[in-house]
Structures are given as C-alpha cells and as structure tokens.
C-alpha cells in the first residue's frame, strides 16, 4: 500500500515540480551560453550580470515552489473534497503523513540539487576551475592545529540537521493546516492564524532566551564557560551540532504526533 501511495504521490508532485526543475537547469544552461559570448563590452557585462541575477532568482524560486507545492498538495489531497477519497483508502493516517512528507522533502532536495547543478553549469569552465583551486588551496593550508576530521564530521552533522530541518519545515505547515481544518469555517485562515501564533511564540521565546543569555554573559560564570569551550572546542562543536539534530528530530516527532492524533480523532472534512 505504501509503495502505491508513493507512486501516486510522486506522480502528482512530479507533474508540478518537473517543469520547475527543468526551468532551474535551463536557466543555468542559458547563463552559461550567455557567458560563452562574453566580452568586455559594457553591454555584455550587463547581460551577463542580469542572467546571473535571474539564475539566483530562479534557484530560490525553485526551492520556494517546492515548498509551496508540497504544502498545497497536503491540503488539497487530504482536506479538500479529495480527502473523501484519500481517507477512505485502506491506508493509515501515519502512512499518509509519511509518504507526503518524504515526497515533499525529496522534491525540495531535488530543487536544491538542481539549483546547485545549475550554478555549477553556469560557472563551468574557467570560473569553476579557479574556484575549486582556491578552495582546495585553503583546505590544504589550514592552520596545523585545526583537526580536519572533526571539521568533516561537523559538516556531516550539520547536513543531517538541515535534512531533518526540511522535514520539520514541511511538518510545521502540515501541523498548521491540520489544526486549521478542525475549524468549521475559514479553515485556511485558521491555519494561517495558527502559524502566526506559532511565530509569535517562537519570537517571544527567542527574545527571552537572548535576554537571559545576555544577562548570563555578564556573570563571572560566563568566563569559565568560555574557557571550557575554548579548551574543548571539538566536544562542544559536536554537542552543538548533534544537539541541533536531536532538537529537530524532536520537533518533527511532536509535529507528526499532533497531525496524526488530530487526523485520527478530529478529522473535519467539509
């Protein structure tokens, strides 16, 4: 059943995203072609510059659309009249949530990769070669004390957190929509309202934490903490990145649970 859900989910999202991904790659190729004709005349510099601008816009648009399409698909397939079909399939709510989020994240990552590939294509040739040479030079000539193994691990941990963070972004919108659908009228407005409340809470929480931290920073304890971090930079680094990963996993877990419970107990199809 899950395989079949995936098949149909990919088909539905692919239908929307494939043109976007092609457009992102296309603009990269186009930019490269434009740069091919580069000369030092002002005209070409402007064109070259604008096509790079367009490339950046399209790259981010691709990511933006991946997020938008993923969120709209969740609402439309589960909570509009299509929901009458989706929720009467011999499928559990958990399976629905899993398949939707995994598909949405996959296309989001695809959009990110397309953007990266597009950039590489646009820069291919001399600029890219120069860039790679510079980066390898810096990497090779890092100060002796820096343990490159740890840096690599930091990068891996960071990438993993970002991966889970994408899930948590989608699940955040899913949760807002799922809470919103419980309302009798104006379900979408309710979802937007929930988002604002969440945003507000996050803002208040961050402000409070920042204030507390600034106060803490003025205490003598702060110096000892700073010393400890300086002496154990790798340990603290790993704790930080792995901690971030765990926090994101926790957030996704909570959001998933909220959606799952509401769907099972408080489904409100129009």
């Amino acid at each position: 059943m899950v395989k079949k859900l995936f098949k149909h989910e990919f088909a539905a999202m692919g239908r929307l995203m494939l043109p976007v991904l092609c457009a992102v790659l296309g603009v990269g190729i186009l930019t490269r072609i434009i740069l091919f004709f580069e000369s030092d005349t002002i005209g070409f510099n402007i064109i070259g510059g604008s096509s790079f601008l367009m490339l950046f816009v399209v790259m981010f648009a691709g990511l933006f659309l991946a997020m938008v399409f993923g969120v709209i698909r969740y609402y439309k397939n589960l909570f509009s009249t299509e929901g009458y079909l989706s929720f009467t399939l011999p499928v559990t709510p958990a399976q629905h949530l899993m398949v939707k989020s995994v598909t949405a994240v996959t296309f989001y990552i695809a959009a990110a990769l397309a953007a990266l590939v597009s950039l590489v294509i646009a820069l291919s040739g001399d600029p890219l070669v120069e860039g790679v040479k510079a980066a390898s030079y810096i990497w090779a000539h890092l100060p002796e004390e820096i343990n490159k193994v740890h840096l690599v691990f930091f990068a891996i941990e960071f990438a993993m957190s970002m991966f889970v963070a994408v899930f948590s972004s989608f699940f955040l919108y899913y949760t807002c929509i799922t809470i919103g659908q419980m309302a009798k009228k104006n379900r979408i407005m309710m979802a937007v309202g929930v988002y604002f409340i969440y945003y507000l809470i996050v803002q208040v929480f961050s402000t409070v934490m920042s204030v507390l931290f600034s106060v803490f920073a003025l205490t003598p304890l702060m110096e000892r903490v700073a010393e400890f971090i300086a002496d154990n930079i790798y340990l603290c680094g790993h704790t930080f990145f792995i901690g971030m990963l765990l926090v994101y996993i926790l957030i996704v877990g909570v959001e998933f649970l909220v959606c799952h419970t509401i769907i099972r107990k408080k489904l409100n199809l129009e």
């Binding site: 079949k4 299509e82 009458y84 009467t88």
Partner: protein, 232 residues
C-alpha cells in the same frame, strides 16, 4: 446472510450537540437499504462513522466484523455526496488509482460502463459535465466488488434520466453477499428499489422495516409515511 454493519449504543457528540444518540442498528447482506431522514438527522454522521472518517464518542460500531479503519475499508465502497475527483487526472489515471488501492476493483466492468456513456479512457475529468462527473464517481464505486456500498445522496442534483441510470446501475450490480446503503431524501424515486428502510431523526433510529411491510401496515408509500413522520 451475514451481518455487515452493527452499531451498539453508538453515540457521537460535537461539543454540546449530540448528532447520534445511542444508536442500535444492524444491517444484513443481500439487501438494498435506504437511510432516510431530514437534513441534520445524523445520516451523514453515521456514514462518516462507518467509513472511519469520525470516531465515536461512545458505543461501538463494527463494519464487516472490523472496527472502521484500513482493514474495514477494503470491504466498503463509499460514494460521498460531492465529487472527490482530481480534475487534472484522466479517466485512465483514476481507474489505475482505484485498481492500485482496491484489489476488488473490476476494471473491465468500469470501462464497459464508461463506454456506454461515451467516456473514453483518455477523457480528462475536468472536461466532463457535472452530471457525467457524478456518474463517473458512481461507476468507480459500483465497479468495486465490495461487501458494503455506502451511497450518500446518489440521485440528488441529478436529472431524471440520470436518476434512472443510477438506479439501474445499482440494481444491475446487485450481489447477494453485499448490501447497498443509500442515504437520501428523494424517497419516491428510489422507494421501489429498496428492500428495507431506516428512518433516522435527531440522532435516533425511528424505524427499520421492509418497504412492503410499511406499505401493508400503513396503506401508504414510504414517501408518504416519511412526510407524515417528519412533519414539521
């Protein structure tokens, strides 16, 4: 003859409002049953409970010996009263969708019925008229070889010729191991096709009898009895 639906003291409340109040109901196989009641009587709530779209506040409901959920849905074919179709799909795609999720889906039967309406597999769903869309939904549901068919207002908002089509399709698809539960308020059109009727009002089952019993005992049609029972 097996029991396809059993509700015991089934209750559903929305806040302070009680939509279904300790309902006891038993539906057996091999019948075409009408669920009749005015708007707000609890028909839709009962149907959603059967399909697992709502959970009971108290009491129990079993569908084909399972609690409503993924297992029971394998045996239930549901036609909701608004179209659940995805407009960008073609007929072929939605048939494939049903085929994928429901093992009992009879593809040949579906295409045969589509052909009689002049609908080809490549037809885009969004190009269909409202009436045809509803017929497509009906065909998809009736092409399932399910045990319990739940049709929510299959003939409301549909022209008289289409109503005849719906009724013939229902009769044609009759299976002694299955039961069709039709929820409607257009009783006179469908009365002749029903074995049994269940009257529901204000969350209570008011009556459950065969059509012939009602006509014999009351000397009037079910439609007339309904108007009498539910007089304002």
């Amino acid at each position: 003859m097996s029991e396809l639906l059993r509700c015991e003291k089934l209750t559903k409340c929305y806040g302070t409002k009680t939509a279904l109040d300790e309902i006891d109901l038993c539906l057996e196989s091999g019948k075409i049953i009408g669920l009749l009641g005015p708007n707000g009587s609890g028909k839709t709530t009962l149907i959603k409970l059967i399909n697992g779209l709502l959970t009971p506040t108290s009491g129990s409901i079993t569908v084909c010996s399972e609690k409503p959920g993924p297992k029971s849905r394998v045996n239930v074919a549901y036609l909701p009263d608004n179209s659940y179709l995805n407009n960008w799909m073609t007929v072929k795609k939605i048939v494939d969708y049903f085929k994928d999720f429901y093992e009992d889906f009879r593809e040949d039967l579906a295409y045969e019925m589509f052909e009689r309406l002049g609908i080809t597999p490549e037809t885009r769903l969004k190009s269909l008229s409202k009436g045809n869309k509803e017929k497509v939904c009906l065909i998809l549901v009736m092409s399932r070889n399910a045990k319990l068919y739940v049709l929510d207002e299959p003939i409301a908002g549909v022209d008289p010729a289409a109503r005849d089509y719906v009724i013939s399709t229902i009769i044609n698809n009759y299976n002694p191991d299955a039961t069709v539960l039709i929820s409607t308020h257009l009783i006179s059109d469908i009365e002749q096709v029903l074995d049994e009727v269940v009257f529901i009002n204000n969350g209570h089952i008011v009556l459950q009898k065969t059509v012939d019993q009602i006509r014999e005992e009351n000397g009037k049609s079910v439609d007339d009895l309904f108007r009498e029972v539910f007089r304002w």
